[in-house]
Symmetry: C2
Subunit: 263 residues, 2 copies
């Protein structure tokens, strides 16, 4: 326990500790909202203060809302392909139409539509999602360029706070082989998305082989614990994680198709 | 910031915060070691104290070492199948032999051997691993029953500490579609491995569909941030995460083969 822990209200975590700090009290986000401003205000109200090397993990949902990446199902005319896919899976053809427009390729149909998005992400329903959106007719889409969204938000937050803040944009994805959803990174700025330990040595001085850690995904998963799906806390500060600032897009995490027998 | 944060050295995290606390100073673990005792001693030396609802995430590696789940490659005679697989992939035939004995089925050969282990986990090399083991000839195997290992360790820790402590045993696995390794749960005791939110409502009172969070994996991933592969901190306390104690094996996370088109 560092002395600091007892003396400063916006202390750094004790040596080696990492804190996951939910930023509560955000209002419902609407198209055109200045997220850096809204988040900074919530951070202030919660009597938090940004610190250098804080990593802000932001749920994709509020990025999409601020960027107007929402769709009204009633405004979509389903194509023949959408109608077919919908019929085969008892799905809303308008929803399928939206999913198809967000997709480069369909990977499987059952039990859910697994697609490759235009970004290259492989996920259910192209990330098109009903939850935490007002209105039965409204869905959110993934940001067009989540890495760009992360860079912009990071820049605006750094300008406001004068602190070096990294941003990870997270979403919950399923995966083959294991059940359940975990939070993964769909956008990143200021933090390395992967940590390549190849060639470094372990505590027995053996070279580590094939060890590349997907730390942006670990950061997203960790923040997910503090988000809580129901309570709707879409922003979490990860504090105390040591990293070298880097500009690497989260799309670098996507496994190239030619290395991936599963597509 | 709670007042507590400034008055008590073994405070609970401020409301809603989660802390990832590395337990440093563990000695090299050997077969037969009493892990509960060794970990409790390290926790004391680090001037930490267990609290109710702490979740101890423990790297598979030290569980395997304590349980004697290690193998000396020189003592294995490769079978014909091991020799063939080794020749096709420029691998050590003795290592391939060990991997085959730990496997129920081979899923793919290139670029690494992806297998289904006897537990049902799908991972590279059946979890057989060279790193952080003394000796060039020695590898660790996954625990025979990691859920049982977690239950035993949890029980012993609760007896010593008089605190309700849950245990997650973690390992780093790769995955299709995304590069890099993340920490996942291979064993669990005292904490739910999945959080089923189906039927609950989001902040707009819409029912959440198909939302089951793999929280044991999120816990493992979060702890992974505080472990650091090189530094070899194989034990992390996750503190402040709210859960209902449950006895669910981590093998419940395995997607049943008949639901999984990727096998």
């Amino acid at each position: 326990m560092s002395k600091n822990a007892r003396t400063s209200p916006s202390r750094r975590p004790a040596r080696g500790r990492i804190e996951l700090i939910p930023v509560t009290g955000l209002p419902e986000i609407r198209e055109g909202d200045d997220l850096a401003r809204t988040i900074s205000a919530a951070v202030r109200r919660a009597r938090l203060r940004f610190q250098n090397r804080d990593i802000l993990v932001v749920a994709q949902k509020i990025i999409s809302k601020a960027e107007g990446r929402i769709a009204r199902l009633s405004t979509f005319e389903p194509s023949a392909q959408a109608l077919q896919l919908a019929a085969r899976g008892s799905r809303d053809p308008r929803l399928v139409e939206v999913i198809l427009r967000e997709s480069r390729r369909i990977i499987r149909e059952h039990p859910v539509l697994i697609v490759e998005t235009h970004h290259g992400f492989v996920c259910a329903n192209a990330g098109v999602d009903h939850s935490n959106v007002p209105g039965e007719d409204v869905v959110t889409l993934l940001p067009t360029d989540p890495d760009l969204s992360a860079r912009r938000l990071g820049k605006a937050l750094r300008r406001r706070s004068k602190k070096q803040i990294a941003v990870v944009i997270s979403d919950t994805f399923g995966r083959p082989w294991r059940l359940g959803l975990t939070n993964v990174a769909v956008g990143a700025a200021g933090v390395p998305v992967m940590l390549d330990l190849r060639g470094t040595r372990d505590r027995n001085a053996k070279r580590l082989q094939a060890t590349i850690l997907a730390i942006a995904d670990d950061l997203a998963a960790a923040a997910g614990l503090a988000m809580g799906k129901q309570e709707g806390v879409p922003v979490v500060i990860v504090r105390g994680y040591k990293y070298r600032p880097a500009q690497v897009p989260a799309t670098k995490i996507i496994r190239p198709a030619h290395e991936d027998l599963f597509r």
